[in-house]
Every structure is written in structure tokens, then in C-alpha cells.
């Protein structure tokens, strides 16, 4: 759905910039309306975004730096960090490859079932994380489809890391494709056809023409995938064995500490994730700007 909007957006873009100044005089709201709307926005975003973020950081430090440092350097927290990074390290490259393939198929070719495929890519967004976990338990769990076979071969997927990786992949599968489809569609394929007609091979065309042209959109999708993979909670909670130091990710560690009345320690670990979220926002803004400024059909000169 989002992809459609952005794709439509692409077509009308050239109109925006120069009309900006003209409208001010003729069609603006009265000053008191403007001021109160701006005030309202500050209050709304302050209450719902800024204060929750602030409470994470202030609660984390509420009992001083010593306790904060101890919570963050605790061996169980450390192993949660390592496990989380492993999940990200496996999920992100695989889903990026998938996203590129899916975007190539959907944005470059017209085939029957194309719109169905597009909706299928978006499907994981409307599935509750808990249902994702349930689905994987039903396939790989002891009583699941592959349960007996996995048991016989002594392979554990559920309540272990492979299951956590798989559910994270499910949850983050749409991001890269969704960012790339509109970017690819908007650029058109003249440059690629040109490269091919000049004798470049398919892969050469892809790496020298396509990839440089969509790199900001791609990076944007990768950042979103990474952020979500780092922070997935519900689906992972279902398929993790919840053994501290063994198969707890950072979000599960936060949950565990909070439920055990170690709120300050929970917020300390949470603050690590909050800082990563803030870095994500900065990257997103930066990449979003680059993506929008990458003028479509600018003769393809791969800048930088």
C-alpha cells in the first residue's frame, strides 16, 4: 500500500518546489490558527514521543552511573548483545538479497500475479508477531510438521537461535523490497537497456547501472530492516527458550529484568536500544534526503 503511494508520488514530484513561496500570501491560515496548530503539534509529539524516550534515559540513570554500568556490562546482557548481533548479521543480508530480487521482479517486469505478489510481500506487516511465533512452533516445534524429523536428527530450531533468526526474517522481510520497488519503478529502465545494448552482461548492468542508481533507497531499506531485527520482541519471545546468557536477545533481556523487579537495570539495557533507535532516526533522515534528492533520470551519472 505504502509502495503504491510512493510510486504515485513520483510522477507528480516536479510541481512542488517553486509553488511553495507563492501560496504563502494568498492561501495561508490566519496567524493565530498557525500558532495554535504548531503548539498542538509540540504538545502531542512531546507527550507521545519525547517524554517516553526521556523516561527511558532518565530511569536508566536514576540510581547512578555505577548501577548503570553494572547492568550494561553484566555477562547475561553481554551475551544478549552478542546473540542479537548474530540475529541481525544473518537476517539483514538474506532479506536484502530477497528484497533486491523481489524489487527487480516487480518493478521491471509485467506478469500475471504481479499485484498478488506485491500484496504477499506486504503480508508480514499485518500478521501479529505472536502469530508469527506460533506459526514457526507449528512447523519446527516438537509437535510440529518437522518436529519428529528434527528430533531424530538432534536439531533444535524452536527455543533456540535458528527459530529466533527465522521469525526475525519473517517480520523484516518486506522492508528492503518496499523501499526499492518505488525507487526502481520511478527511475525507469532506459539506462539499463542502454548498457545492455552496448554489450554489458546482465550482472555488469546490475552492478554498474542499477545498484549505484538505487543505493540510497537500498541503504534506507537496510537500515529499517536492521532496526526492526534488533528490536523484534513478540515473535522472538514465543520461540526463545528464555534462558538468560543463552538464548535471550536484548529485548527479551529488558523484559526479563523488568518482570523481575529490576526496573533500573531493565531501563539501562533499554537505553542501549533507545540510543540505537536515535541513531537509526538520524541515518533515516540523512538517507531519506539523499534518496529524495537523487534526481530521477539524471542521465544516470553514479555520483560519488
Amino acid at each position: 500500500m505504502m509502495a503504491d503511494i510512493t510510486a504515485n508520488a513520483g510522477r507528480v514530484v516536479p510541481a512542488s518546489g517553486n509553488t511553495r513561496v507563492a501560496h504563502r500570501a494568498a492561501a495561508d491560515e490566519p496567524i493565530w490558527v498557525r500558532r495554535s496548530l504548531i503548539g498542538l503539534v509540540f504538545v502531542f509529539l512531546g507527550v507521545f514521543l519525547v517524554v517516553p524516550l526521556a523516561i527511558v534515559l532518565s530511569s536508566a540513570l536514576s540510581q547512578g552511573w555505577a548501577l548503570y554500568a553494572r547492568a550494561v556490562t553484566d555477562p547475561d546482557t553481554w551475551s544478549a548483545i552478542v546473540l542479537t548481533l548474530w540475529v541481525v548479521a544473518i537476517t539483514v543480508p538474506l532479506n536484502t538479497l530477497f528484497g533486491i530480487a523481489a524489487a527487480w521482479a516487480i518493478a521491471r517486469f509485467d506478469f500475471r500475479g504481479r499485484s498478488v505478489l506485491t500484496s504477499l510481500i506486504d503480508l508480514p506487516f499485518s500478521v501479529s508477531p505472536v502469530v508469527v511465533g506460533l506459526a514457526y512452533v507449528l512447523v519446527f516445534g516438537r509437535g510440529g510438521w518437522l518436529g519428529p524429523w528434527l528430533g531424530a536428527h538432534d536439531i533444535q530450531i524452536i527455543f533456540a537461535m535458528p527459530g529466533m533468526v527465522l521469525v526475525t526474517m519473517f517480520v523484516t522481510v518486506p522492508f528492503v523490497a518496499r523501499e526499492l520497488i518505488p525507487v526502481l519503478a520511478e527511475r525507469g529502465q532506459e539506462e539499463e537497456e542502454g548498457a545492455l545494448s552496448l554489450g554489458a552482461s546482465g550482472w555488469q548492468t546490475f552492478f554498474r547501472v542499477t545498484l549505484p542508481a538505487v543505493k540510497w533507497g537500498l541503504l534506507y531499506g537496510v537500515v529499517l530492516t536492521t532496526a526492526r531485527a534488533l528490536g523484534e520482541y513478540g515473535a522472538v519471545a514465543v520461540v526463545s527458550g528464555r534462558v538468560p546468557g543463552e538464548n535471550e536477545t536484548l529485548t527479551l533481556r529488558v523484559d526479563m529484568l523488568y518482570e523481575n523487579y529490576q526496573a533500573t537495570a531493565a531501563f539501562a539495557v533499554a537505553s542501549l536500544l533507545a540510543v540505537i533507535a536515535l541513531i537509526t532516526l538520524v541515518l533515516k533522515t540523512y538517507l531519506g534526503d539523499r534518496k529524495d534528492n537523487a534526481c530521477p533520470l539524471s542521465a544516470g551519472a553514479p555520483d560519488s
Binding site: A9, A27, L97, F109, S128, V173, Y233, D255
Partner: protein
């Protein structure tokens, strides 16, 4: 693969790209979801009905859909205003606020969950003052509502924002020069142009709110019959190893949310067609 009949395109890679996409999606998404549907189908009709209409399940649907709907509606109104202000007005900190909109996407749900629980708990910054007014948020449906406002906040803003950016101001100016008041211009010119984007954003927020788990459960406290959302009920069935019941409720949740999304999409298309004629 007979459905994949490509229509002439000189570019290479059609077969590998579509095959990879289909295989990946089937293994990762479709087969596991099919497992849920089939497990639920293993129940007899009567049993299935009993499980999905148990008082606990019914209370959870009312809460989940009610809270998701009202939160999405509130986000539609405020998201519209936020998008408008961010695009049309210039003021200090505009860029910062704009970047901050995506916080609910970037912040892990469990972190948001404990933050909201701490904030609205009886000793929290907001919880204390609201308690003095006689409003209890934590452990009530209001808590679920608050959490879903947080989660759904970016959707309307981010769908409406690009449309406002492209809105041709000539029309507004023309309407204004013909003597329309700003309010009339807003109602007759601006709102109709932005309406589809608002509905799309509302729908996305609704879909997300229905499935949301991490940011809700801490503030909701999961009091049986009062503040248990449907995903939590599924989670409980799972922990009891009652997989058929978990699957039945999961299928119901999926079915109702897909139905809702289709209805809203249908309504929007109907509206677009009607306006196209009128």
C-alpha cells in the same frame, strides 16, 4: 508457474528473480502461516466455534479492535495536523520533530512498552497526575489505547506528508481569490485531495494496532477480561501448549483484520469511483 507469463521486456533476470521471490516467500511466510490455518482446521466446527467465542476471547476482540480503531482514528486526526504543520509551516525544531515521527518504528516495542508502563503507572510522571483526576491508565483498556496511539503515530503522518507536498497550491489560491474563506477552501479543496492518504494511513495504523504485542502488554497488565489483548490470549494458549486453540484464535484475528482491511480498501475505491463520476 504458469501464472508467471511475462510480457516482453528486454531486461534479463526475470525467471531467477521471480523464482527466488516466490520460493523465499513460500518457505518463510506462506508455509508457516498455512501451518496455523491447518492446525485450526483440525478442530471440529463446534470446537472451533467454542474456542473462538469463549468469553475470554470475545473480551479480547472487543478490546483489541476497539482500542486499535479509536487509536487509529485519533492518529488520523492528529497525524493529519502534524503532517500539515510539518510541510506548510516553518518554525524552530521542525527538522527534529520531523525526524522524531519515526521513533515508534525505530524504538523496539518492548522498550516502548516498559517506558509507557513506567510513565502511566500509579507512580509515573503522568500516571500520578491522571490518578488525581480519577483516571487510571495502567492495567485498563485506556492503557492499551495509549500504547496503540504511540505505535500507530507515524503511519498517517508519513502517508499524508508526501501528498501535501505535492498539493498544487494554485487551486487553493484560485478558490481563495474567488472569495472562499480559508475554512471553505480547506473543506472543498484540500480535504478531498488528502482524504485517500488519510484513510490509507488510518488503515495501516489499524492493522498494526490489531497485531501489536510488545508495547501493549506491559502497560495493559493483562487483567483477564479487562485488559487482555487478543495476541496476549494467543500467547497464553501457546504457553499452555494448547496449539489448536492458539491457532483458532490466531486465524480469527487474521481473518477479521484482513476483512477490515478489504472493507476499508473497498470503501475507498467506491468513494473514488463515485467522486470520479460526480
Amino acid at each position: 508457474m504458469a501464472i508467471l507469463l511475462r510480457r516482453g521486456n528486454p531486461l534479463p533476470g526475470f525467471v531467477p528473480a521471480t523464482s527466488l521471490t516466490l520460493i523465499y516467500l513460500s518457505l518463510l511466510v506462506l508455509i508457516p502461516l498455512a501451518a496455523v490455518v491447518l492446525r485450526a482446521a483440525g478442530l471440529s466446527g463446534a470446537e472451533f466455534w467454542r474456542v473462538i467465542t469463549s468469553p475470554e476471547a470475545m473480551a479480547s476482540y472487543r478490546l483489541t479492535f476497539g482500542a486499535a480503531f479509536t487509536a487509529a482514528a485519533l492518529n488520523a486526526v492528529f497525524g493529519f495536523i502534524v503532517a500539515w504543520v510539518l510541510v506548510r509551516y516553518s518554525f524552530p525544531l521542525r527538522r527534529v520533530l520531523d525526524a522524531l515521527i519515526d521513533l515508534p518504528f525505530a524504538l523496539p516495542t518492548a522498550v516502548a512498552g516498559i517506558a509507557l508502563a513506567a510513565l502511566y503507572g500509579s507512580n509515573g510522571w503522568f500516571g500520578k497526575s491522571l490518578a488525581m483526576l480519577g483516571i487510571q491508565v495502567a492495567y485498563t483498556p485506556v492503557g492499551v489505547f495509549i500504547a496503540l496511539i504511540f505505535v500507530g503515530l507515524p503511519f498517517v503522518v508519513r502517508t499524508v506528508q508526501p501528498v501535501i507536498q505535492e498539493l498544487e497550491t494554485e487551486q487553493e489560491e484560485a478558490a481563495g481569490s474567488l472569495g472562499g474563506t480559508r475554512w471553505q477552501v480547506f473543506r472543498r479543496v484540500i480535504l478531498p485531495a488528502l482524504w485517500p492518504a488519510v484513510v490509507t494511513g488510518f488503515t495501516l495504523a489499524l492493522a498494526r494496532g490489531i497485531g501489536e504485542y510488545g508495547s501493549v502488554i506491559f502497560i495493559a497488565g493483562n487483567v483477564p477480561g479487562v485488559s487482555q489483548i487478543t495476541p496476549f490470549v494467543i500467547f497464553t494458549r501457546l504457553e499452555e501448549f494448547d496449539y489448536p486453540a492458539a491457532s483458532a484464535i490466531a486465524v480469527t484475528l487474521l481473518a477479521i483484520s484482513l476483512l477490515l482491511l478489504l472493507t476499508i480498501n473497498g470503501l475507498q475505491q467506491w468513494r473514488a469511483r463515485r467522486e470520479g463520476r460526480g
